[in-house]
Symmetry: C2
Subunit: 218 residues, 2 copies
Amino acid sequence: MKIKVIQNVLQTNDAVAEQNRQIASAKEILMVNIMSAPGSGKTTLLVKTLVALGPSRCAVLVGDLQTSRDAERLCTSGAQVIQINTGRGCHLSASEVAKGLEEIKLEGLSYLFIENVGNMVCPASFDLGEHRRVSLLSMPEGDDKVAKYWTLFQTADAILLSKKDLAGILDFDIERVKNDLARINTRAPFIEMSSKSGEGFEVWLSWLKEQHGQMKNS
Amino acid sequence: MKIKVIQNVLQTNDAVAEQNRQIASAKEILMVNIMSAPGSGKTTLLVKTLVALGPSRCAVLVGDLQTSRDAERLCTSGAQVIQINTGRGCHLSASEVAKGLEEIKLEGLSYLFIENVGNMVCPASFDLGEHRRVSLLSMPEGDDKVAKYWTLFQTADAILLSKKDLAGILDFDIERVKNDLARINTRAPFIEMSSKSGEGFEVWLSWLKEQHGQMKNS
């Protein structure tokens, strides 16, 4: 009985997610779902990314339990930004994204980023209609997180190691992370980045542009 | 219909939690539920805490989606440690803790720590039978997290600011955190800590001992 209810929720979510994907695909907008623990640098990376891609070509749906602080930071880029407050909700759902899509002027967009609620567990289980999933691992979180929070990294299309500027201070073994990734996801590129030093940013931008091209041609 | 099922789950959880609490109280064991995002330093703090309190007086139930890495680290202290793998589960439940309690030799214990799954959202909604809740905020996670993940901090009996040794490198405003806490939780002490430098550790230990004393006298 309990399982049945959960399946229904997931089935409904997946149907709405598919509609979201079709809306974005029809307009040749690449939808990217960005997931990580709280404070891994999603917002900082996004602000830079919006500016670099051209804010008029981008929009962001940003999920948080409460506050519009991330939306305020993202707005400084000039891109369209919609804040979704989930209250006690631990992840964004496809229907929340669907409502957000109604608020966005889609004409002229090439990229729609979804900044998910900061959480390494729940968001990974919910399709929002994205074309690509990106998972961040922040260096201060430790080199054991891929093995421990494997669901987040297994389904990712790109994995970003953020805050690499702290490498000299922290006891973090990048090879350990790569070894763990080799067991669960060999498909996704692993991009070592720092929003402070700029390391990896051009690789990330190239990856995004490539994915947009692939989506248009598919 | 959906809400009814969720309520039933929470009611069942709360009943089991109450049993867990009674088991611990009867033996004068202080049960402490430690919650935070992934990689905030829960395990490192616990290893030091177990050694300082005396490992024979302590046990730990540690929750992770997968791996026994935290349990292995905690075992080095000499305390009893039980690893609970939740698979895709985003938090520990009271029934998982109840099963864990069956595996632990309770005689002679004064402290039972529960290291919850690394997650700033879901664990806060589930009573496990603890006497005290402790929430960690790691400095690299940013000074906006209390406002954004308020449920974790609102119900805490103590709030620890971890990795404070990184204060000189990070752009983190402690006053901002204190102002946010002043709105949602004025009860819990706010302890600024670093497992590297040792800052705050004695304050934390004193707080634990005081709580144990209060629990015995209640």
